[in-house]
Amino acid sequence: MSAATVVAAPSAWKRATRSGGLVIGLVLAVTMVLIAIAAPWIAPYDPNEQNVLMKLEPPSAEHWFGTDAFGRDVLSRVIFGARISLFVGAFATLAGVLIGTIIGVVSGYLGGTVDRLISAATDVLLSFPQLIMGLMLVAVLGASLTNLIIAIAITAVPAFIRVARASTLAMKERDFVDACRALGFGDLRIMFLHVLPNIMDEVVVMGSLWFAAAIRTESTLAFIGLGVPPPTATWGGIIRDGFDNLLDAVWLSVFPSLAILVIMIALNLIGDGLRDATDPRAPQ
């Protein structure tokens, strides 16, 4: 083969950005995060300030998203709601990824009885729909910010155990793992220094999709009254507040729903983009 025929494989970044989806997703998600962080400075009003004279006002120049039944500015509430939704989603996903991946790698790598027990427990947990499980956990733990994060994280754990375990099973048959054993490396070192970095791509793809699922679960729980207690603004809570006046003031529920829609689309675009970037079988 002459040197001229050697073509460098396109970098993962190039492959990821070729379709544009990942870029759009990242731009949208980063914008949302920046808005959430800057909420106190960019929100036009205090999200909890009531104004009985301005109840259920439709969108206008002063109140872009209108006002709710207590006269609170919906735009400000949506902006502040982003903080809770993204915070809960991010931390719950992070905790779920961390715990689930560690258990999954250990289970897949060690095999045997440990693996059978963990897999059986995972199957039991996975048989509950995510929302039902989150509901049960919040009902048991009580509705608070921390408990919400814990509950949603627990719903994510079995999914990550499964992904990490499956990838580890494939990885531990690879020659380099034998080579590590032949070098006298311990199981912990092989699991977390050699196997883990090799399965991170799948975990990250899955993580971005679960981030979306966590936000959805948080909103749903808030909608049915099991979220962060009022008057704290959360997207699910705002939709629920607007639900009572849905026929006369549709904007109350529409704008927070749009916010959820945008972050869902953004995170799914990111997830798909990452999968395309890391999957060598993806069409070029």
């Binding site: 020659d175 380099f176 080579a179 006298g184 090799n198």
Partner: protein, 340 residues
């Protein structure tokens, strides 16, 4: 049979006052098939001195790789086990050692290189890190010291522009270069014994020759005892001092390399050499060995080659011992017909 008896009966080609770096004495390794244990390696004995190369030859499934895994203490738990025999590496009895002690030996006093350089390196870690890792692990070096030593090792195995490649990843290396990296990793802690499991099979011929020459050079310099596992008789002729031919888990012939090629005695060795293509004969003259290696549960009692052997006699139902030839005591053969 004790180790000394084994080495007395079959003196080594390389006369050496030094103690053998690796002694395998009466090794029997069993593997499990459908809840039954079968002896896949039977009563294998050999000793390798520093600077000596022993080639373990045989076709797939003859037990040569299993022998290597037994020596490394890396038999898969629940599937393979050492049923009897003793393995001594650099004076330490590996079979009696605790799991932790055996682990500390691996990569430190006994190294191994594998067949597939393309997959034996971790794809997501830089080369320099992978070479340095066992130095940190076994020698307690700091990351900086180990990195410096990794650079020296890369130069030792003649990787060009080593300093620029410390932080390169395996996919940026060719097969031959990766095998050099594997050798550098295996030799990082200056082991006494190196097991090379088909080290050149995955490489093309010119690269094979380079890697073999490098191995031979490093062996002289570091005083390594090399256990070379291969089915390539050309490689054996080029680098080995002594040859052990295995068939169905038995050592069928053991001889110094020149003696082996001059006078292959066991019918299986004879057949192996006749089946090897040579430049001075036409390809049509190749004589394949009829039949296939029986699977473990189907192996016959007695001599395991008897089902494919053209010289079979009744006594073959009884397992012959490894008998030294009268003319050449270092040459042993496990055959009733050919032994004196």
């Amino acid at each position: 049979m004790s180790a000394t008896a084994a080495t007395d009966a079959l003196p080594n080609a390389v006369a050496s006052a030094e103690k053998p770096a690796l002694i395998v004495d009466g090794l029997t390794t069993s593997i499990r098939i459908d809840r039954q244990w079968f002896d896949a390696v039977r009563d294998v004995s050999f000793a390798i001195h520093p600077r000596e190369t022993l080639a373990l030859v045989g076709e797939s499934g003859c037990g040569k790789s299993l022998t290597a895994l037994s020596v490394m203490g890396l038999l898969p738990a629940g599937v393979g086990r050492i049923s009897s025999g003793r393995i001594t590496v650099d004076g330490t009895d590996m079979t009696a050692a605790s799991a932790a002690a055996a682990q500390a030996m691996r990569g430190d006093r006994i190294g191994m290189i594998f067949q597939e350089p393309m997959t034996s390196l971790n794809p997501v870690l830089p080369i320099g890190f992978q070479i340095a890792e066992s130095l940190v692990q076994h020698r307690g070096m700091s990351a900086r010291q180990a990195r410096q030593r990794a650079l020296e090792l890369m130069e030792l195995v003649r990787i060009p522009a080593a300093a620029q490649r410390l932080d390169a990843y395996p996919h940026q290396f060719s097969g031959g270069m990766r095998q050099r990296v594997m050798i550098a990793i295996a030799l990082a802690c200056s082991p006494k014994v190196l097991i090379a499991d088909e080290p050149t099979t995955a490489l093309d011929v010119t690269i094979q020759a380079q890697v073999l020459a490098l191995l031979a050079d490093l062996q002289r310099r570091e005083g390594l005892a090399v256990l070379l596992i291969t089915h390539n008789l050309g490689v054996v002729a080029a680098v080995a001092d002594r040859v052990i031919v295995m068939y169905g888990g038995d050592v069928v012939e053991s001889a110094p390399v020149n003696e082996f090629f001059r006078r292959p005695t066991h019918p299986y060795s004879e057949a192996l050499l006749a089946a090897m293509p040579r430049v001075d004969r036409s390809a049509a003259a190749l004589a394949p060995i009829p039949g296939q290696v029986p699977t473990l549960p189907d192996l016959p009692a007695g001599c395991r080659f008897q089902s494919r052997c053209p010289h079979r006699i009744e006594r073959c139902a009884e397992l012959p011992p490894l008998m030294p030839l009268a003319a050449m005591p270092a040459h042993g053969v496990r055959c009733w017909v050919r032994a004196p």
